[in-house]
């Protein structure tokens, strides 16, 4: 057997360098600004203001509360939903899975706009129906979306898919043998879930809760639309207001440091919780997962799923659909009010539509492909501890999740707006931003997945003379096929709906869909928002279902 050239070491080193540039540059800029006074001298003035001014402390506490509640809500709703879809014989599982993906596709700010139409205290449709149903006076309010619970609710609506996808994918990978063994020893369905299934998906649940928490903490779109009318700031809306003229960049940078510190602390906690157990479950020969028979409970289970999905999907999209084809939000959709006016305007008259669609599509494809590749390599390097300093890489790959997109956008603008890297005004700067932003969730997913794949197969390949890289791409990556596809879809979708960094980095020729929609919201053009939102969802859906065909096309894909 001839010895092949092993490119893996230089490649892994290159990955480390790329990651450092991608992440260290903006974070370094951030930290430096946080410890610099407006005059340019090293100073603690921003930090002192951050911890002493009530106007800064309160948004921080509010944000923490929101993130905790969202993470808890997501876990309570998404983990059982993921189990029902992945491991039971509940009818309509594919549809439920698809609908959860649809709520993931939905940009949070689009959902927030829709929920304003549904649950604004006076004009919200749900409140109007409630009053009409019980013949109550105009002061009776069932839901008030302009409130802390309202903000938590809307954020959770579009964050729970993170947990769901992670859990469902992990459950897809768990072999049936272990559960069968448990059943053979006489354990009931729920004892098996509790003793076998739950511990095996724990890494995915923990990763999901972590991602949900951090997403809720750094989200900008929904709070921007709902929190201010409710009379409070979250950390991100506070940072946005600090970036308004006159800009207080130092304070804005300092305000994102606690987010970074919390991320580090949570990652340590995650490692500590998982550290002493091993989760290698994908060995050489495995049985397909066995579905739990729900018996008479299968229909109530489906009803429960659909009831949950009312909140992110049926109600908001119902209202958007109606708005797309009527002249005003208030009128109901009938044959006489039906109009294609909004559709015609968006596709025929509105000059930004075409460019935005093209740019968004190109960026999503590139960010998804390059981001998945990068996350896979980094995930591999850190899971197999293949290079010196893999722990640092692990941190770098997760850190961007704690940087609000707005702040990252500023950092990228300053880093890439002047020579030697004059990328501002091109799609490249957006691509860099997207890859940096999307890296953490894809990386989290791959590290959870790698923990589930025992290295024995790779080792076998390497004993037979394969290089590390060859083993990765020919053995491990196919085993992780569903994780690879899921990560690709994750990035594609999340790039599509990313707003906060794009809003700072787009120019006339590099406009993207999310920014167009946000701009339309400023002119109250709800009809056009509805049309573009629905277009965006259709586009994503087509791409994602094609990608998923790859998974379902091969029976028992990913298992030898």
């Amino acid at each position: 057997m001839t010895r092949k050239l092993d490119l893996s070491t230089p490649l892994f080193a290159a990955i480390a360098v790329i990651l450092s540039v991608l992440v260290v540059l903006p974070i370094g800029y951030l930290v430096q600004r946080a410890f610099t006074s407006d005059a340019g001298a090293a100073s603690l003035v921003n930090i002192i203001r951050l911890v002493t001014e009530p106007a800064m402390v309160k948004p921080f506490l509010v944000t923490f509360l929101i993130a905790v509640c969202v993470a808890a809500a997501c876990c309570i709703v998404a983990a059982p939903l993921g189990w029902l879809v992945a491991r039971t014989n509940m009818p309509g599982r594919r549809i439920v899975r698809t609908l959860v993906m649809a709520s993931f596709v939905t940009p949070p700010f689009l959902g927030a706009v829709a929920w304003e139409m549904l649950a604004a205290p006076n004009s919200g449709l749900l409140n109007e129906w409630f009053r009409a149903l019980f013949r109550l006076g105009p002061s009776a309010v069932l839901f008030n979306i302009y409130s802390l619970p309202g903000v938590i609710f809307v954020i959770a609506c579009y964050t729970f898919p993170y947990v769901f996808v992670l859990v469902a994918n992990a459950l897809d990978r768990i072999p049936g043998d272990l559960e069968d063994a448990s059943a053979m020893f006489g354990a009931g369905t729920f004892a098996t879930v509790r003793r076998i299934t739950l511990p095996l998906v724990m890494p995915a649940i923990i990763a999901g809760v972590l991602v949900a928490f951090l997403q809720a903490m750094t989200l900008f779109g929904s709070p921007a639309i709902l929190a201010m009318p409710a009379g409070f700031h979250t950390m991100t809306t506070k940072i946005w207001s600090l970036l308004e003229y006159p800009p207080q960049l130092g304070l804005a940078a300092a305000a994102s440091l606690p987010l970074l510190i919390i991320t580090i602390a949570l990652m340590r906690l995650q490692r500590w919780m998982l550290g002493r157990r091993t989760y290698a479950i994908v060995g050489s020969r495995l049985g397909a997962p066995r579905l739990v028979q729900l018996g008479p409970w299968k229909w109530p289970a489906l009803v429960l799923c659909l009831a949950v999905l009312c909140n992110p999907i049926f109600l908001p999209y119902g209202v958007l659909f109606k708005t797309a084809f009527t002249h005003t939000v208030g009128e109901s959709l009938t044959f006489s009010t039906f109009t294609l006016h909004n559709v015609g305007f968006v596709f025929l008259d509105f000059s930004q539509t075409q460019a935005a669609l093209r740019n968004t599509f190109i960026l999503c494809l590139m960010a998804a492909t390059l981001g998945t590749l990068l996350a896979l390599l980094v995930g591999y390097v850190t899971a197999r501890e293949a290079v010196f300093g893999h722990r640092v890489l692990c941190f770098l790959a997760t850190a961007p999740i704690a940087i609000p997109g707005l702040v990252l956008g500023v950092g990228l603008f300053l880093a890439y707006a002047r020579p030697p890297f004059t990328l501002y005004g091109t799609l490249w700067i957006l691509l860099l931003a997207y890859i940096t932003i999307e890296l953490p969730s894809a990386f989290q997913q791959f590290s959870a997945a790698f923990k589930g794949v025992h290295p024995e197969l790779e080792e076998a390949a390497r004993i037979l003379g394969a290089t590390r890289l060859y083993a990765l791409f020919s053995i491990t990556a196919p085993l992780l096929r569903s994780a690879v596809i899921a990560a690709w879809c994750f990035i594609f979708i999340d790039t599509m709906r990313e707003l906060s960094a794009a809003i700072i980095l787009v120019t006339a020729n590099t406009i993207v869909l999310s920014v167009v929609i946000y701009d339309l919201n400023e002119t109250n053009a709800l009809g056009a928002i509805a049309v573009l939102g629905l277009t965006m969802m259709t586009l994503t859906f087509v791409v994602v279902s094609v990608a998923n065909r790859l998974r379902f096309g091969i029976p028992a894909a990913g298992r030898s």
Binding site: M117, S241, Y245, P246, P247, S351, A417, A508, D519, N524
Partner: protein, 349 residues
């Protein structure tokens, strides 16, 4: 936006050299000549950064393209503050995509002119038919459109006789929890209005208003929508043209021109110094100040024109019959920071 501070010194330095050239020549009014049309046709394109309402600007662009078939218009619509930020970013690093720009925030043109980012050009129409106080003496910009920051009420929820008539009326206890308003930190229109009200009526008005449990929106475009949907029955401020738009769409809304005076919002328009299509830009600016475009602004855009020839539609109170608060872009620009900070302190967001 924050790029004012970051990019501004760069911009100022970059442009200092060119400034001398700019003030040497106060422009003469220019007419549309066949030579200009020829040169514009060769450029074939004009890029317009605008913050006016989307359907209006799209229609104006289309009508220009119909008149001059050799030129296409690329419309870049965004909020005025965002356009301002974008120009700062782009000129700071030498990207020149904008030809013609307009802004609803008149202070922007003061800052742009100060940084010498504007190319002087004075259409003949402006000199002949617009009041002289509404254009820059050096010809770098002119007021292209005007609107008002009005109060308003929902006619389904409030009887006309009960509706407030003045800012002072909004402070009555019965309107507690019933008012929606926009924020000067996010909207140039509301900044202009807030400065004018604080100057002529005083900050105690805002201090008392803050105790009325108002629904605080960001953009000046939001409150008319909330009023139309009946989310709140009273609007304390917001752009008049969108309120009139809602009314035309059949929503139960009616503007209120407060007895103390209504803040007027002047929107300037000019050509960028490094416009990539300078001749097309001139031809386009000419068109934007022509009666054709101005009539569209009034009829379709529901805004106010300063062109003496334009007729206001029936049923709308003419601008000359409305008592307005004095507009003063220079003073607004000078007090902007103070106004925003004080407002945020009073309202808590």
């Amino acid at each position: 936006m924050f790029f004012r501070k970051l990019v501004w010194p760069m911009v100022v330095a970059f442009c200092a050299l060119c400034a001398a050239a700019a003030w040497a020549s106060a422009p003469k009014p220019s007419a549309v000549t066949p030579a200009l049309i020829d040169a514009a046709c060769k450029e074939g394109k004009v890029t317009w950064y605008t913050s006016a309402e989307l359907e209006l600007v799209t229609t104006i662009a289309k009508s220009f393209e119909a008149k001059y078939k050799c030129i296409s218009v690329q419309v870049e619509r965004s909020g005025a503050e965002r356009n301002f930020q974008r120009i700062g970013q782009e000129y700071g690093i030498g990207i020149h995509t904008a030809d013609v720009i307009d802004s609803s925030d008149a202070t922007h043109f003061i800052l742009w002119k100060r940084a010498s980012l504007l190319a002087p050009y004075l259409p003949a129409d402006v000199v002949k038919n617009y009041p002289a106080q509404y254009r820059d003496p050096d010809g770098t910009f002119a007021i292209w459109r005007a609107t008002l920051s009005v109060m308003g009420y929902n006619t389904k929820l409030v009887k006309p006789s009960d509706a407030p008539k003045s800012f002072a009326d909004l402070l009555q206890p019965k309107w507690s929890g019933k008012i929606v308003k926009a924020h000067p930190g996010y909207s140039g229109t509301i900044l202009t209005a807030t400065y004018a009200i604080s100057r002529d009526i005083g900050w105690p008005y805002f201090e008392k208003l803050a105790k009325q449990n108002v629904l605080q929106k960001q953009s000046a475009n939001d409150p008319p929508g909330d009023l139309g949907r009946g989310e709140r029955p009273i609007m304390a401020d917001g752009v008049e043209y969108l309120l009139l738009h809602e009314k035309k769409d059949g929503q139960p809304v009616e503007p209120i021109y407060p007895s103390e005076g209504t803040p007027i919002i002047l929107g300037g328009l000019g050509i960028m110094k490094d416009a990539p299509h300078p001749n097309a830009a001139r031809l386009y600016e000419d068109y934007l100040f022509s009666p054709d475009a101005q009539q569209l602004i009034v009829d379709m855009g529901n805004m106010r024109s300063l062109d003496a020839r334009i007729k206001e539609p029936a049923g709308r109170r003419p601008l000359k019959d409305i008592k307005t608060l004095k507009d003063d872009p220079a003073a607004t620009a000078a007090h902007a920071d103070e106004v925003k900070k004080r407002y945020a302190d009073i309202f808590g967001v």
